[in-house]
């Protein structure tokens, strides 16, 4: 069977990148960036996850089918969250009617 064997040096490089990103996200969390707080934290987490998926989990060297399957779960999770937020975030746009007079 043919398998792509990832060189050890690349694993170590990815590991180093993950460590650096972890250091950055922890450091950044001590500064107030306003609305960027969440954005930065999530972006760094997504980068770290992508590195793990592509290299440690070998998706980078896999066929298209694996790419699709690796992505599908995350896409569907976004659907779940986005459409639920479309309710919870817009619910307050229309004020509730006042209580009925007794």
């Amino acid at each position: 069977m043919k398998h792509h064997i990832v060189p050890v040096r690349l694993y170590l490089g990815i590991f180093g990148a993950l460590m650096v990103l972890t250091a950055i996200t922890v450091t950044v969390s001590f500064y107030d960036l306003g609305f960027l707080n969440t954005f930065v934290a999530i972006t760094i987490a997504v980068c770290k996850a992508t590195l793990v998926i592509l290299y440690f989990m070998h998706v980078r060297y896999s066929n298209k089918l694996i790419w699709v399957f690796a992505g599908a779960g995350f896409v569907w999770l976004v659907i779940l969250i986005a459409f639920t937020l479309s309710d919870t975030m817009t619910r307050a746009w229309i004020p509730l009617p006042p209580p009925l007079p007794m």
């Binding site: 779960g73 569907w76 659907i79 779940l80 479309s86 309710d87 919870t88 619910r91 229309i94």
Partner: protein, 536 residues
């Protein structure tokens, strides 16, 4: 056994109980599922007949209100999680899908057996709930009633549903990998039978949606056990969040139930019209479209649950979209039948039943997807009638049609044709008599889930209960003659219908590994030639 052709097949190579309970053969597992779903169908049907009897009179006089609540709850839980969801994929999918694609088995045979055991364990837990206190939350487990106020066995029932969910997940996973990796040489995606496309699309939904149900149901149980308060408004929790999570599974679950039957339909129509299915690629793609769009519509169950009107508009619009791929299928089936010489054998009669009932069910769904109309119809018998037309009229008719179609292949026996047609007609008539009045009742405002009602609604309710009796008889007849045929039926030839498809090239019943040699596919599915064009 006096079988012609090969002496040993998957049924007779070993008769021991052990060889059944530890089997990893997809065909035997299909039969194990057949026993399971038939049993649970009988239980669910029994509950339905009890509360239909109660509803024959306006006053609540046969059972108490509490008992009534438990009856309809368990009817829903049993029928949905233990009959409709596993029926076509578990029985017919397990049996024919690997054969249809020319494989020796599913990709993970032991996982397949495990999923049956998981299903049975979940079922036993649910039966335990039924006999020791019941469940009265409705099959929807809505909070805060289920998490705080209900005095019935919510945690145990949640455990049963949770466990059964994994059976569904494992089945879906198995079919996905099987379809991708175990197709015979030459079996390209565009040569796959449409049943395989439908089961594949169903499996995608199972894999993507069921885990959310699992965690949701687990949260209910955890909240109830520990008072952690996830959905409790008293500490700022949001009960509507539960509804979002629940319907993220349970609306796609409707497609888990109906899509496989649509796949069966495509097989039946092609075979009994002797035609290549009209618009093959569109019918195949519409299965995937239904599976995907089905994930964007769940909010139409929350139109009156304080969901934001803006979300409501989006969900309403998207709900209408699902009608398109469903209609693509219906039109293509009709176009296939057009000017073909239809042979009216039992499976085809069931298929016609499906067509009529699914059409009504689908069109009334459009009423409910409409934001304004839904406010009037929500939680009335109109909704009850609508989803029974889809799930019983559609899914169950398709299942029975498929069971009759593949019965000679599964058992190697033919059933009495006259009784087959008779049962199909009885089911069709009984079904319409049961549920057509419920549309009217719902439109007049009769709410669902009440055990008594005003006197003026009695006539329609009596009609409905009478129809349910006919329907019950209609389901009993096949049970009798199919079991009868096991011993007394005429031996079935390899291809009793003259159908195309790999499953008809192997003996009935098939040998242990399905084929003597791995088949090599050289033609499209439904290569029926021009036999059907005679009238043109």
């Amino acid at each position: 056994m006096s079988e012609p052709a090969p002496a040993t097949n998957y049924l007779n190579w070993n008769y021991s109980i052990r060889s059944w309970l530890l089997t990893t053969d997809h065909k035997r597992i299909g039969l194990l599922y057949l026993m399971g779903v038939t049993f649970f169908f009988a239980i669910g049907g029994l509950m339905a007949s009890l509360f239909r009897m109660e509803l024959a009179t306006p006053a609540g006089n046969l059972v108490t209100a509490d008992t009534y609540n438990k009856l309809f709850t368990l009817h829903g839980v049993v029928m949905i999680f233990f009959f409709l969801v596993p029926s076509v994929p578990g029985v017919l999918g397990n049996f024919v899908l690997p054969i249809m694609i020319g494989a020796k088995d599913v990709a993970f045979p032991r996982l397949n057996l495990a999923s049956w055991y998981v299903y049975i364990i979940g079922g036993c837990i649910t039966l335990y709930v039924a006999v020791t206190g019941g469940l009265d939350t409705g099959w929807t487990f809505y909070t805060p009633y289920s998490s705080t106020y209900a005095n019935t066995k919510v945690i145990t029932a949640a455990l049963g549903v949770f466990i059964t969910g994994f059976s569904s997940i494992l089945t879906g996973l198995n079919f996905i990998v099987t379809t991708h990796k175990l197709r015979a040489p030459g079996m390209t995606w565009m040569r796959l039978p449409l049943f395989v496309w439908a089961i594949y699309a169903t499996s995608l939904i199972m894999v993507l949606a069921t885990p959310v149900l699992a965690i949701t149901i687990a949260l209910i149980a955890i909240e109830r056990a520990t008072g952690i308060g996830i959905f409790d408004p008293a500490i700022g929790g949001d009960p509507v969040l539960f509804q979002h999570m629940f319907w993220f599974y349970s609306h796609p679950a409707v497609y888990i139930m109906i899509l496989p039957s649509m796949g069966v339909m495509s097989e039946l129509i092609a075979c009994f019209c002797r035609r290549r299915i009209f618009g093959y690629s569109f019918v195949a793609a519409s299965s995937l479209a239904i599976a995907i769009i089905g994930f964007f519509v769940w909010g139409h169950h929350l139109f009156v649950s304080t969901q934001s009107p803006y979300a409501g508009m989006v969900f309403s619009f998207l709900s209408f979209l699902v009608a398109i791929p469903s209609a693509v299928k219906a039109f293509n089936w009709t176009a296939t039948m057009y000017k073909s010489s239809v042979s009216w054998q039992t499976p085809m009669v069931y298929a016609m039943g499906f067509m009529g009932l699914f059409l009504i069910g689908g069109l009334t769904g459009l009423f409910l997807a409409n934001l304004a109309v839904d406010i009037h119809l929500h939680d009335t018998y109109f909704v009850v009638a609508h989803f029974h037309y889809i799930m019983v009229g559609g899914a169950l008719m398709g299942y029975l049609g498929g069971l009759h179609y593949w019965w000679p292949k599964i058992t190697g026996k033919l059933y009495p044709e006259w009784w087959g047609k008779f049962s199909a007609l009885t089911v069709f008539i009984g079904f319409n008599l049961t549920f057509m009045p419920q549309f009217v009742l719902g439109f007049m405002g009769m709410p669902r889930r009440y055990y008594s009602y005003p006197v003026e609604w009695q006539a329609l309710n009596v009609l409905s209960s009478a129809g349910a009796t006919i329907l019950g008889v209609g389901y009993l007849i096949p049970m009798i003659y199919l079991i009868w045929s096991l011993k007394n039926g005429k031996p079935a030839p390899a291809n009793p219908w003259g159908a195309k498809g790999l499953e008809w090239t192997t003996p009935s019943p098939p040998p242990m590994h399905n084929f003597e040699q791995t088949p090599i596919v050289t033609e499209e599915a439904y290569a029926y030639g021009n036999e059907g064009h005679g009238h043109g």
